[in-house]
């Protein structure tokens, strides 16, 4: 095992990786920007080195600085986490050049999957299903034939398009000609180019992805699927594993397809193959992420497999000790991403000082976070506060547990999406597993507290104001309960120690 590992990241994922490396017996090395001196990943690591100003482009993204710390500290390997340099081909190459192990796939695999067109080609070659379409611009004559072939509903999209302009949803053949005309005319006036292509319209799409784990000895396995359909702004908010929408047959097929694409690029380490899936379990390749995923914990919870530890072991040359047939799904896991953001104003980030944090705990509850009372959420980085993950023996029990756990969370100082997440857990459609990527847009009522009984909040506020008034009246300086208690302790039990 590596004696020293550098973690080239920050926040909860750096904390997650540091814990895993420590448990593996390695000395952990953290890096931090000016904004992160007081961050938990610095406090938890065995060594910590400053790498510059808060802006990622001047610290976490500067390859030279990371390599420099690795050399100075004697790190044998670097775990990049997600984001930052995790899918940077140049960084992986540089590590190799410097004789430092990059904990992840080869630079070549990163390159191939990083380019969307190349990835699509590889998928096609590996017989991985793609959203059926015209494969590039079509003439008016071809268009209708393509639509017939792929089947309605279809989407006509401007080749030069973007932002919804020059796009037409066509539900049946009769509408096709007129829709094509309108799309082309709109495309011409918007982009000066009327070429269009035709694609199957995936209705009520789900986002389902397969976790891949592959060692350097030719073993490429999948750890089943994750359902990540609850999204806002195309970013996942709630994830679960397994998915309630897929049959054992589809699961097997999807897993095989994902393993095939991973093998096509000689993948090693942890990776994720993402699919879009319709409500009839037809699924199509979206992309492959060549790194650990934010939502990896749900897979860990249902398999007992520690993905981060195995990434390190695989980079160290270790062989996976089991085969696909040895793996099975156990229970159900749900993850909620707790963000400093305001659901009432379109999930606008709410950076600031977390003046008070009280996190839930107990059986089946995993809180992957790096926050604490007094820490600051700056606007330099992602406003995610915590990944709250629960496990239970059934989906219903997991949702009930998540709702209970979320209700134990207390965060003061910034706006959070906790109330919103609680309402999603209690939503009947969600509980029935009727998910698709349009869920949040379809349920604006979940964004606000709605008709709650605010009397207790008002009473608490009045008591708090009254507390201050009381103290002022009796001419005492405001004194915290803590201090009063501390004094009490020093009078009685304090002598014990």
């Amino acid at each position: 095992m590596f004696k020293k590992i550098l973690i080239a990241n920050r926040g909860e994922i750096a904390v997650r990786i540091i814990r895993a490396c420590k448990e593996l017996g390695a000395v952990t090395i953290a890096v931090y920007s000016d904004a992160d001196r007081r961050s938990l990943h610095v406090a938890l690591a065995d060594e910590a080195y400053h790498i510059g100003p808060p802006a990622p482009a001047e610290s976490y993204l500067v390859i030279d600085k990371i390599i420099d710390v690795a050399k100075k500290s004697g790190a044998e390997a670097i775990h990049p986490g997600f984001g930052f340099l995790s899918e940077n081909e140049e960084f992986a190459k540089r590590c190799e050049k410097e004789g430092i192990v990059f904990i992840g796939p080869s630079a070549e695999a990163i390159r191939l999957m990083g380019d969307k067109i190349t990835a699509r080609k590889i998928a096609q070659k590996s017989k991985v299903p793609l959203v059926p379409g015209s494969d590039g611009a079509v003439t008016d004559v071809e268009a209708s034939g393509v639509a017939d072939k792929i089947g309605y509903p279809v989407m006509i999209k401007a080749s030069a398009g973007g932002g919804g302009k020059g796009m037409r949803l066509v539900r049946d053949k009769e509408e096709f000609e007129s829709s094509l005309r309108m799309a082309k005319s709109e495309a011409r006036s918007s982009f000066g180019d009327d070429s269009v292509f035709v694609e199957r319209f995936v209705e009520q799409p789900r986002h389902v992805e397969i976790q891949i784990i592959a060692d350097t000895h030719g073993n490429t396995l999948h750890l089943f699927e994750r359902e990540c359909s609850i999204q806002r702004r195309h970013q996942k908010v709630i994830e679960e594993a397994p998915s309630s929408a897929i049959s054992a047959k589809t699961r097997k097929k999807m897993g095989e397809v994902a393993v095939r694409i991973a093998k096509a690029v000689n993948y090693s380490g942890a990776g994720t193959v993402e699919f879009i899936m319709d409500q009839k379990e037809n699924f199509y390749f979206l992309e492959m992420n060549t790194r650990v995923q934010v939502e990896h914990p749900v897979t860990e919870m249902i398999t007992g497999f520690d993905i981060v530890k195995w990434m390190v072991r695989i980079a160290d040359g270790e062989k996976l000790p089991f085969k696909q047939k040895d793996l099975e799904i156990n229970g159900w896991a749900v993850e909620c991403r707790v963000y400093a953001e305001d659901p009432e104003t379109n999930f606008m980030p709410s950076p600031g000082l977390l003046q008070y944090v009280k996190a839930p705990s107990g059986p089946g509850i995993r809180d992957d976070s790096s926050i604490y009372s007094g820490c600051e959420i700056t606007s330099y980085y992602d406003p995610m506060l915590s990944k709250l993950v629960v496990w239970a023996d059934s989906r219903e029990a997991a949702i009930d547990k998540m709702a209970s756990a979320l209700r134990e969370y207390v965060v003061l100082g910034v706006k959070t999406n906790i109330g919103f997440l609680i309402r999603v857990m209690n939503n009947e459609e969600f509980r029935q597993g009727k998910l698709d990527t349009g869920f949040i847009e379809r349920h604006p009522e979940l964004l606000t507290p709605g008709e709650v009984d605010i009397e207790p909040a008002l009473i608490a506020a009045a008591l708090a104001v009254d507390d201050v008034e009381e103290t002022t009246e009796t001419e005492k300086a405001p004194q915290s309960n803590w201090k009063l208690l501390a004094r009490k302790a020093s009078l009685s039990g304090g002598s014990l120690i």
């Binding site: 702004r233 104003t345 379109n346 999930f347 606008m348 980030p349 950076p351 003046q355 008070y356 009280k358 606007s379 330099y380 980085y381 992602d382 406003p383 979320l406 209700r407 969370y409 207390v410 965060v411 003061l412 100082g413 706006k415 959070t416 906790i418 109330g419 919103f420 997440l421 609680i422 507290p449 709650v452 605010i454 009397e455 207790p456 909040a457 008002l458 009473i459 608490a460 506020a461 009045a462 008591l463 708090a464 104001v465 009254d466 507390d467 201050v468 008034e469 009381e470 915290s480 309960n481 803590w482």
Partner: protein, 165 residues
């Protein structure tokens, strides 16, 4: 002691009576016995006729942040003078500021344009997300101080809207 509390647009009057052996709270014409303890600086455990509630409270200047069942409520404790003021329509000259370091994506209004209360006037991007900034009042844009594409610090004034002619 009676307190006037404002939550969003609603105003409540709450009386706290600590004179008796048992503290009483009067709200919406009901008098309720209340048993409360501060668990730590920011957490109140309140027992209302058996019901146990745990509520986070943070004093944030004149306002109170109250956290209950996942939601953060901003409650303002207002004096009588404030109360009179709040009953009037919001008016005057308002500066539209960037809430955090961000990039100006779009300026939606030019100088002289009329805006209604809550109408978007600019779009900024921070933390990879776009947000629309809205005018709190009805009026006219009197100044635009930044250009699209500008990087701005927190609290930078982007536009000025005035309700006065």
């Amino acid at each position: 002691m009676t307190y006037t509390l404002k939550i969003k647009d609603k105003v409540f009057s709450i009386e706290v009576d600590r004179e008796k052996e048992q503290t009483f709270v009067k709200i919406n014409d009901k008098e309720i016995p209340v048993e409360f303890e501060k668990i730590d600086d920011n957490l109140y455990s309140i027992i209302l006729e058996g019901k146990s509630l745990t509520i986070g409270v943070l004093k944030d200047g004149k306002k109170l942040q109250v956290f209950m069942d996942g939601d953060l409520f901003i409650i303002e404790a207002i004096s009588e003078r404030d109360q009179r003021k709040s009953s009037q329509v919001l008016s005057g000259v308002q500066e539209i500021k960037s809430p955090m370091p961000s990039r100006v994506v779009k300026i939606l209004k030019d100088v002289g344009d009329e805006v209604t209360a809550d109408e978007g006037v600019a779009v900024v991007e921070a933390m990879k997300m776009e947000s629309e900034l809205k005018s709190p009042i009805e009026g006219k844009v009197t100044e635009v101080l930044v250009n699209e594409g500008d990087a701005v610090e927190a609290e930078t004034t982007l536009l000025i809207v005035s309700s006065e002619d």
